[in-house]
Amino acid sequence: MTDDVLLDVKNIALSFGGVRALKDVSFSVKKGEVFSIIGPNGAGKTSMLNCISGRYQPNEGQIIYKGKEMIGLKPNQRCELGMGRTFQNLALFNHMTVLENIMVGRHHQLKNNALSGSLYWFTGAQKEELAHRREVEEIIDFLEITHIRKSVAGTLSYGLRKRVELARAVALKPDMILLDEPMAGMNLEEKEDMARYVIDLNEEWGMTVIMIEHDMGVVMDISNRVMVLDFGKKIAMGTPEEVMANPYVKSAYLGEEIELDQDDLNAEANA
């Protein structure tokens, strides 16, 4: 792991009408890290991810990715800068085959357009498509979905769809991948597989991972650092061990009666 900061999130605030989903959240993610965001339901984890990927524009704050300001850029522009993500609720293209779904992930790396694509054989579009098909097959192989590559995505089981969604995000060749609950609704075996994929993506494919996950076992096992959100506020950040020992985290998760002094909380969070 190097010490280069890949993503720097500064003082993000986001509100929907009167609801303040995120309050003054700051953190930075280093290149090559597995960074997890945890917190109880409604804590603002997905909102945070949506701010990073561009679906929401935060009301205040800065998001610096690879030294560039992200606020104001659309999701597709951020994608071109090397940001990929998966969704908490499945967001596959249900009427396309698995292969086509993953090929959509190559969109910004392909050069052919409506005209050259229509003239397929004469413009090099065929050659380009086939070259990318080859690379996509490697991803399919890696995620062990070879047997379903011609199936229509909408007909697959939940666990497989999650995996196809990961494959699609990997096809973007992102430097940083945002995973929103990659293991939700899976059984133990599927979770183990998914954890292995995440580790491989991080270590072999060199992707920085930001992950939201509820399964504490997985989070504590594979994360380099963990950030805890509660009611839109950052209440703790650090290595898994540090976070587990943090009294505010225990309070947020278990509801233990701990006197939470607001100033203490802020001091802790900004430390």
Partner: protein, 353 residues
């Protein structure tokens, strides 16, 4: 159950190229090539009635393919397709009459001009969806209809416009037999272009926009660009279809390009199968031949029940309506889907599991 991706026994694909062909099996490709070969010799023996219907199917199919790219593949809705069809007809006649460019070349130019107009009317599509977009395209239908009525320099106004027959190097395609080849050329070209589009980058992007626009955007697809582009592509094919229509009839007047024709185009692609290139053709064949079949049946009934003779016209119209309704109830995915199911059934027959 047999799914439509069941591969045929003995069909081994050893390269990615063989796995991304337009036709699923070599057999289906050969069948289509054989059909085209048959169509090439058809004018020699077919009578003018058959040729007339075939030409109708041809130019409507080109336009329907355009609408299917917009509605079926991109998930946008358009109630103004007939207006673009009409614009293509007038544009081609106007280019030919005012500049003297041969009709053979004015047809694609008309397609491009219609595309420009379609892109313009497609701009609202970048922002609005669903029923709101339907109303916006309805506006384009009426704006263009009004334009046809007023722009005398372009359309001949209330008198209509004369369209010369297709000619190139002094050879005029002015009979049904010869014009058939022009239509066949554009039909095959359009469908090849359409099929290629759908298996390359931008075609996939269009379908992605339809299926899940939020994740399409995360995948790096510029939603506004592709929504507007879809209108452009759709109008291009509408323009080509319209131009063929115009040069076939020889005379173009604005009345035909009304909302009814727009809805008929929608019916064609819904019956044929939304989101299917070949479905567009099947739907057009169905919609063009249905009234003829009904006419034929009505003729037979008239002989059997002479007392029904005067109400036969209504019965015929009603039967067409009923046929369409039954279709939508029992085959909502269209003829293309039924075709795939039939093929899958025979592939495994008689052991269907």
């Amino acid at each position: 159950m047999a799914s439509h991706n069941t591969m045929k026994c003995g069909d081994f694909r050893t390269t990615y190229e063989k796995d991304s062909t337009i036709f699923p099996t070599p057999f289906s490709r050969k069948m289509v090539l054989a059909s085209i070969a048959f169509l090439l010799i058809m004018p020699i023996f077919a009578d003018s009635y058959v040729l007339n219907l075939s030409i109708q199917i041809g130019y409507y199919a080109v336009a329907a393919l355009g609408l299917n790219i917009l509605v079926g593949f991109t998930g946008q809705i358009s109630l103004g397709h007939a207006a673009f069809f009409g614009f293509g007809a007038f544009a081609s006649a106007w280019i030919n009459n005012s500049t003297g460019i041969p009709v053979f070349f004015s047809i694609p130019l008309a397609g491009l001009l219609t595309m420009a107009v379609g892109l313009m009317f497609g701009v609202p599509a970048g922002r609005i969806k669903g029923l709101y977009l339907a109303i916006a395209t309805l506006a384009s239908q009426y704006i263009l209809e009004d334009f046809f009525g007023r722009a005398g320099w372009f359309t001949g106004g209330p008198y209509g416009a004369m369209a010369n027959p297709v000619s190139i190097f002094g050879f005029a395609f002015d009979s049904d037999q010869s014009f058939f080849y022009i239509v066949l050329f554009w039909l095959v070209l359009s469908f090849v272009l359409g099929a290629n589009l759908m298996r390359s980058r931008d075609g996939r992007a269009l379908v992605a926009v339809r299926d899940h626009y939020l994740s399409a955007e995360i995948m790096g697809i510029n939603l506004t660009k592709y929504r507007i582009m879809s209108f452009g592509i759709s109008s291009f094919f509408a323009g080509i279809g319209g131009a063929l229509f115009g040069h076939y009839l020889g005379f173009i007047s604005a009345e035909g390009f009304n909302i009814l024709l727009s809805i008929q185009f929608l019916a064609m692609i819904i019956i044929g199968g939304l989101g299917s290139v070949m479905g567009s053709l099947m739907g057009v064949i169905f919609m063009v031949l249905l009234p003829e079949v009904m006419e034929f049946a009505a003729g037979g009934l008239r002989d059997v029940f002479p007392s029904l003779a005067h109400s036969m016209t209504y019965l015929k119209q009603m039967s067409i309506g009923i046929a369409i309704i039954l279709f939508l109830i029992f085959e909502p995915d269209g003829l293309a889907h039924r075709w795939r199911m039939t093929k899958a059934y025979w592939k495994l027959y008689p052991f269907s599991y």
